[in-house]
């Protein structure tokens, strides 16, 4: 079974978590929610969608997961103020495992120092930050570069999910 780490904190963009999560589960994946505190419930910024943290990110290693999802909203900025989430993203990128980041998700990639020379996209307010961090910013609904899948905003979710499932070899699959 494909196991996906979801790195998530307070004030995430609801749909950027819930829609990919539903698609991944429908394709038979298991999700593990990583955050700052095990057992804590974090909520989305628009609709207060609740997500319970399964595991403290400091206790998680990239080898336990097949891919990493980073939803947007204010969650990535809240998480990257702490060392654990930044270290986890850095290690995940160094393993060359699939990383899926949407909207503000690339903020964690910047803090992990992993956008240098990478083709990527993200929410328009991050354009400068991503360019300064060395990314080749493309204004497209989804950008795939090696292990990295990025998108700009909620309206890109269908293309984002398609690209993620394709990278996992699960395009068109439904759970039994």
């Amino acid at each position: 079974m494909t196991t996906i780490a979801v790195l998530i904190g307070k004030d995430f963009e609801d749909s950027e978590y819930s829609e990919p999560a539903r698609a991944f589960r429908n394709a038979g994946c298991r999700l593990v929610h990583l955050g700052l505190k095990k057992g804590e419930t974090v909520t989305g910024k628009k609709h207060a969608t609740p997500v319970q943290i399964d595991m403290e990110v400091d206790s998680a290693g990239p080898d336990d997961f097949d891919a990493l999802l980073i939803p947007g909203g204010y969650s990535p900025d809240n998480l990257r103020a702490h060392k654990g989430p930044v270290r986890f993203v850095k290690h995940f990128m160094e393993r060359d495992k699939p990383v899926f980041a949407i909207c503000h998700g690339p903020q964690l990639l910047i803090s992990a120092g992993k956008l240098q020379g990478r083709k990527a996209t993200g929410w328009k307010s991050l354009l400068c930050d991503m360019k300064y961090a060395g990314a080749d910013y493309l204004d497209k609904e989804v950008v795939v570069d090696g292990n990295l899948v990025t998108s700009r905003r909620p309206s890109d979710i269908p293309a984002f999910v398609d690209a993620c499932l394709k990278m996992l070899g699960l395009a068109g699959k439904k759970a039994a």
Copy 2:
């Protein structure tokens, strides 16, 4: 009378607006709230402090003001997704007029391309972004570099306000 532009949008950090605003008014300053839409009320992210926008930022010119205050929270990221606020900050910095930015406030300075070679500070999640943008990031409660005053977080507000009032030549002044 000293007139201060306050560039503000939704989900600002309440105290980073209300405490400097009170201090500036107590020192006899007039505040003009600039935002995306005249007449709109934007609210703080913690206590829903209401602020009514006096003037659309696209209609405002830096020559109409003596200084610029940029409170933090999620407001700077929301504003910098639009051209008007970024252009206003750029022009203000190019006039070498006093600019006061706290916490996430420097995000607008990054998007305006005005941190290159400047000593500055800001909320810890911005450390990478500010360094990549060319700033000399200092982990201090307040950093003064030429026309620019920056601070890291709400607990820095007293030092921030003192440095701002000093730059305006209003230290120790009270309104009549």
